[in-house]
Amino acid sequence: MKHAIKIRVNGQDRSAEVESRLLLVHFLRDVLALTGTHVGCDTTQCGACTISLDGQAVKSCTIFTVQANNADIVTIEGLAANEKLHPIQEAFRAHHGLQCGFCTPGMIMAAKQLLERYPDPTPEEIRHQLDGNICRCTGYHGIIKAIEAAADSMAGKPISRHAGTAAS
């Protein structure tokens, strides 16, 4: 069974005809060629597929494209505005918050929601809000540092307010 859908992705209105069972992550990757959103598991745990749907961080592997009809989607590709990186993207690079980069788009989209909801998070809050994202390379210290730095940057504070959670 195919359905006609309308969906806004990274500010662009798109329409398509999709099978009921097409997961949103596959629509984004294989139909729209937005391959920045990744698949890393099949039990909705790893978070590599995290995108923003109507302003909320959602695992795009656990929603059908038809459910996202009329939704407003932002993927990692839509985060930078006019070639200017989002502060979270800058912070991830500044603090070595990634190594292989595979979990990174999902991690950054989760961090985006984290900082929208908790603009001044403690390290414990950051860890708890990253429960839905697994990284195998970094051991998370760089990620936590990056999110702390992004929080500072987005609040207009001078960076390096926090004494690092890992030695430098």
């Binding site: 099949d42 070595h96 292989c100 990174t104 195998r136 998370y140």
Partner: protein
């Protein structure tokens, strides 16, 4: 430039979602592959009926292995392509590994490939394939496999596929003279690498150029190239393997799996591009695992804690097919003595086949088992003699004045293991002070009085890295002044594009922004060996350095002629060559590169262009080292272990990029923590995987990772021009030993923690037994 925490160049594409992983590869007319996999751990495949499957909408065809002769090929026997020599082995008989076996030997082994227009249709097709099995008896644990009447995993082959022996000194005398003998059976679990990216392969036969293009997650892309070229009878250059970008490897992707070869072979025949991506469930069931290991060990010691000798029996599970002879056990042996002296040794080891997926290295590759053994036995000696664990270590430690120190082992390059310029006592002392060990011993007593179970654990590791045979680098400066560095290895996240650019920039005198490092593509260099065994920084780093020095030599020679001065008067800064003391007399490297194309003087400098290709052959491995100290609190009611403090002191020679080093330590530590507290790949009696999803296989999240207190020491190696060692496999080695020791200590040392992982359940069990 060297030793600076330069921001990574590769991050630009990763943070914007512009990386190109294998599953991102999209080619016109591409079809998708899904595999029919065995549901039995051991069975003869009597019949494969693809009739219904071929009718499923979207299914194009089903391949069962009988279609073309090349599908009857075998995977290469030895995957450890960087192993030069396998010491200690006196017997090795391994079964061949066919692409489409008629007898399946583990759950998940491939039986047929469904090709379809979408991955959804491919799975629909897989579900519609009917397979008739004749189930055979299963042997799912190595303990069952070594029994005389055990079912054979492979007909005509013993389940014990390899055997090794090693020793030195007089072990029997050591035990006769001992005041104290301690004995343990130490068991370490099987692990899955759990990189967030699963395995994948895409392939396209490019008729117009006669090239088979393959995109692969394989860490050893040249081995894949050579295997495919060999099977197809094509020259190696006709197969191009692109292994970039890769989302984590950790060893499991460092071995050829059947799919890596099958998919390109089918693509060649069908003339349509194909792509296969593993699902997580396939990864957990059908991909390789590291294999269970049991070390039965006896140590002879004097009452003052001096170790007289060690007797070790090692059994290692290697799964259904062995592609690494006894590599992991050899690594265990070679890392076994860590920082300490064992004057007499006897070692015997067996590699055992079981009806489980084939074994491959997992980050650490035998080092974790070595460290676990040595530290647990040192702690056992401490327990038996009443000495503090640090005192026992100081009693046996290799001193700086003992350097160069040979521990009696032989590495996988045939060279005797030799420590040089490492200060083990300093590492231990630094950790002791930083962790406030003595203070914590006091606090421990007080807190015990208040009913709190605090424990302290220590672990020392070494990391042999930088194994050869060699790696190369080709550097070229073009007429726009861009420096391209081509290497024969690939990255799964290790920051090569940055660290090697730093090496080039430092040696050549150009801006790092002008340097581009390209790896992970067999068309870049004809010979390469790949990424694993923590070898890239040493091998490729020094190759880049050598090549950069050679390009610099040519540039200086040409510039000297053009500027009319002596070569010794030329300096290079940010890509500008100028006369020392007369800076205005200069030429930019872009212009110089342009001139070098036609300049006849280049005849003495190897030909046109500012180019050079150099190979670095390490003499032997380098030895990185470290000491970890951990303080834990055990909740006796629940078995939960809280880490109160974790100190990680380490040396990796001169760091190329401290931020990258920190990342490697942090990531490796997290994996070590996982090994210590819960990761476990387990099978039931029928060879079915019990930990088939992340619902059962524990992988640390951010909330599981404590803060890490890291201190860096630097003991550079004299063995290579950059003085660098490795760090990739430093992180995971000590946490299991240190944490196990701390838990045992927290439980008053009444119980013996001898197996990994130390789960809440095993802590509860230990407490119950007190």
């Amino acid at each position: 430039m060297l030793g600076r925490s330069v921001r990574r160049k590769e991050d630009e594409r990763f943070i914007t979602g512009a990386g190109l992983y294998v599953e991102d590869v999209q080619l016109p007319g591409m079809l998708y592959v899904s595999f029919v996999r065995s549901v039995h751990a051991h069975a003869i495949v009597r019949r494969v009926d693809a009739g219904r499957a071929r009718q499923v909408p979207g299914v194009v065809t089903v391949i069962t292995g009988d279609e073309w002769p090349e599908l009857s090929s075998r995977l290469p026997e030895l995957n450890g392509s960087v192993t030069l020599v396998s010491p200690y082995i006196d017997s090795l008989k391994v079964a061949p590994h066919h692409l489409f076996p008629k007898k399946v030997c583990y759950v998940g082994e491939q039986i047929a490939a469904v090709i379809a227009e979408s991955p959804y249709a491919a799975v629909d097709g897989v579900d519609a394939v009917e397979v008739e099995y004749e189930a055979l008896p299963v042997v799912a644990s190595w303990r069952d496999a070594v029994k005389p009447d055990a079912p054979r995993v492979h007909t005509g082959f013993d389940n014990i596929v390899a055997h090794l022996k090693h020793g030195f000194g007089d072990i029997d005398a050591a035990f006769r003279e001992a005041d104290v003998v301690v004995e343990r059976t130490l068991e370490t679990q099987s692990l899955k690498s759990m990189a967030i990216e699963c395995r994948a392969v895409a392939a396209q036969w490019e008729r117009a150029t006669g090239t088979l293009n393959v995109w692969s997650t394989c860490q050893f892309h040249y081995m894949l190239r050579n295997t495919l070229a060999g099977i197809l009878g094509m020259p190696a250059e006709s197969v191009r393997v692109i292994a970039r970008d890769i989302g984590g490897g950790f060893g499991l992707k460092g071995v050829l799996h059947a799919e890596d070869v099958i998919v390109p072979l089918i693509a060649r025949r069908l003339g349509r591009p194909l792509r296969w991506a593993e699902t997580r469930m396939e990864h957990m069931t059908a991909s390789n695992h590291s294999g269970n290991q049991a070390n039965k060990v006896r140590v002879a010691a004097k009452r003052d804690g001096t170790i007289l000798g060690m007797d070790l029996e090692m059994h290692k599970e290697i799964g259904a097919y062995d592609h690494f002879d006894m590599m992991l056990q050899i690594n265990t042996i070679n890392h076994l003595t860590t920082h300490y002296k064992i004057p007499n040794m006897r070692i015997e080891g067996w590699a055992v086949s079981t009806n489980t997926s084939p074994g491959s290295p997992y980050r650490g590759a035998g080092r974790v088992e070595a460290v676990f053994t040595m530290d647990r036995m040192l702690d056992a000696v401490a327990g038996a003699t009443g000495l503090d664990p640090i005192e026992v270590r100081l009693k046996n430690i290799v001193m700086p004045e003992d350097m160069p120190y040979r521990n009696g082992m032989v590495y996988r390059d045939g060279v005797p293991v030799t420590y040089e310029n490492i200060d083990f006592p300093l590492l231990l002392d630094t950790a002791r002070k930083r962790a406030d060990y003595d203070g914590w011993r006091e606090r421990q007593k007080e807190l015990r009085g208040a009913g709190r179970s605090i424990g302290i654990g220590i672990s020392s590791y070494v990391e042999g890295g930088g194994l050869g045979p060699c790696e190369g680098a080709s550097i070229k400066i073009d007429e726009a002044g861009r420096v391209t560095v081509k290497i024969g290895v690939n990255s799964q996240g290790q920051s090569h594009e940055t660290t090697l650019a730093q090496v080039c920039s430092a040696a050549l005198g150009v801006k790092i922004d002008d340097v581009r490092v390209l790896g992970g593509d067999t068309s870049l260099m004809n010979v390469g060996f790949g990424t694993g065994a923590s070898r890239v920084a040493v091998n490729s780093g020094n190759a880049v350095h050598k090549a950069a020095i050679e390009v610099r030599r040519k540039a200086v020679a040409l510039a000297a002629r053009i500027l009319g001065c002596a070569e010794s008067e030329i300096e290079i800064n940010d890509g500008v060559l100028s006369v020392i003391g007369a800076r205005q007399n200069q030429i930019g490297i872009a212009e110089l590169a342009g001139r070098s194309i036609r300049d006849r003087g280049m005849a003495e400098l190897g030909g046109p262009g500012l180019v050079a290709t150099e190979f670095f052959y390490p003499k032997t491995v380098t030895w990185a080292s470290g000491v970890n100290i951990v303080v834990v609190e055990v909740d006796r009611e629940t078995g939960k272990v809280d880490i109160l403090k974790y100190v990680f002191v380490h040396d990796c020679g001169l760091p190329l990029n401290p931020l990258v080093v920190d990342g490697q330590i942090s990531g490796g530590f997290a994996q070590g923590l996982g090994i210590a507290l819960g990761e476990c790949n387990a099978y039931d009696q029928e060879g079915q995987v019990r930990s088939g999803t992340l619902m059962d296989y524990f992988v640390p999240r951010a909330s599981d990772i404590p803060d890490l207190d890291v201190e860096h020491l630097r003991f550079p190696t004299p063995d290579n021009p950059l003085g660098i060692k490795s760090v990739g496999e430093s992180g995971p080695n000590s946490p299991p030993a240190a944490i196990a020791a701390a838990i045992e200590d927290a439980l008053d040392g009444d119980v013996q923690i001898t197996r990994l992982p130390v789960t809440m359940s095993s802590v509860l069990e230990a407490i119950r037994s007190q």
